[in-house]
């Protein structure tokens, strides 16, 4: 029986090692990527954010629409007029696939406005986008992919931002409840690589 016990120890060591080796400790849930080929080359992918249900935080010094309601945004002059929003991001099938941060800032010395997006998809990677605040025809803003991480690291391209109001937005008292969605459309282009020597 001693031999059986010792054999069991070896078996336990082996099973523990094998389990850790073969079984993933972390398994992120991944929704299938919905990517289409863009007409002028590259791939395009659309995301959207439903407002107000996907909005996690709105923070700015004006405190005009603080979210969550008991958010204590730091009342510090040094932060200036930066406005930061946090969202959940959905794919074209309306499934939540990631989170995002949007920062609208004004550089005090140069008076240059900027809008920056940070999109984080846990199973894929992240994107950092610099958006031109100028509104284009159709209500679009155009941004440039500055960098990405993991699967999205090697991609370059652009991203458009557009607010689409819900036509059925209701009025509550003197305030109009803003319902709608923020549409983000990314176009990716991979860098050229040598295929044949």
């Amino acid at each position: 029986m001693i031999k059986t016990f010792l054999f069991g120890i070896l078996l336990g060591l082996g099973l523990a090692f094998g389990a850790l080796y073969a079984l993933p400790v972390v398994d992120q849930v991944r929704e299938s990527s919905i990517v289409s080929v863009a007409a002028n080359g590259g791939n395009s992918e659309s995301f959207h954010i439903n407002i107000p249900m996907d909005r996690i935080m709105v923070g700015d010094s004006a405190d005009s629409m603080a979210l969550p309601p008991n958010l204590e945004w730091p009342d510090l002059e040094v932060l200036g007029d930066v406005q930061v929003e946090l969202f959940k991001v959905r794919n074209a099938r309306d499934a939540v696939i990631g989170v995002a941060a949007r920062a609208a800032t004004t550089h005090s010395e140069t008076n240059i406005n900027s809008i920056e997006w940070l999109l984080h998809f846990p199973a894929r990677g992240s994107l950092f986008v610099d958006v031109n605040p100028t509104l284009l025809e159709g209500g679009y803003r155009l941004g440039e992919l500055r960098t990405g991480s993991r699967e999205l690291q090697s991609l370059v391209g652009n991203l458009t931002e557009r607010w689409v109001a819900d036509e059925n937005a209701s009025e509550v008292g003197e305030e109009k409840t803003r319902l709608g969605r923020i549409e983000l459309s990314a176009t990716y282009v991979a860098p050229l690589e040598e295929v044949f020597e």
Binding site: G12, L15, N70, K88, N113, E116, S126, E144
Partner: protein
Amino acid sequence: MKYLLALLLGAIVGALLFTIGLIYNPFIGVSSVSPLSFSNEEQIVLSYSGVADEGILFTNDGESRVQPHPEKVLQLWEPPIRKTSILATILRDARNQVAGLGIKMSSLSEDTNLLQGEALINSVWYVYLPNRGSVFVQQSENRWGFLRDVVLAAYRSSAKTWKGVWTGALTAGPGALGTGHVTGGTGEFANRELLGVESLSVKAWSAAAGELAAQGTLTFEFSESPQPAGSSPDSGRVESSD
């Protein structure tokens, strides 16, 4: 039957021995010193509170040890983001003055390999420094040392708490020296690439609430000269008129 019980008992003992060997593996070291500590290059050092309640906002799936803050914040319960957390916090400079704002998004990494002492987290930071600009940080963190030295020690105590001083460099990549990749956004950081390292210093930890006294540090170092402005497409910045 008794042989089966002996085999089963032996297997349990074997698994326990393996677990102990894995945790106290002398070949797995944890760096307590940032790779940027001994550098003569210009650095930016920012600190933030590692306690979720002391930040502006913290949210996760709502079922984890650290509770979301403030109350009624939207939680990340959907399956694709259930292993993700978001922290919004104030960043302070070396003189403990408010320097800016930081947003950190962290997700458990599928590259986690406990056999090699890698408990990895993929995290990204958006750092906004008024009057200076913004940067984006991407990194993978290794929390193995923290789990072994703080969390495990807390569970072994009767009060399920740990007190002491633990300092470790969390960043494990993607840089070859265990540094994170920092991309400049606006202001003086535009068109620049930096190196970044995040460190954590913990003084008290509780199994019920997580960090009770902790401070995180972000260190950025300029790695190269600014790229020419024409090397990237003009982003068409808008200058507001007076």
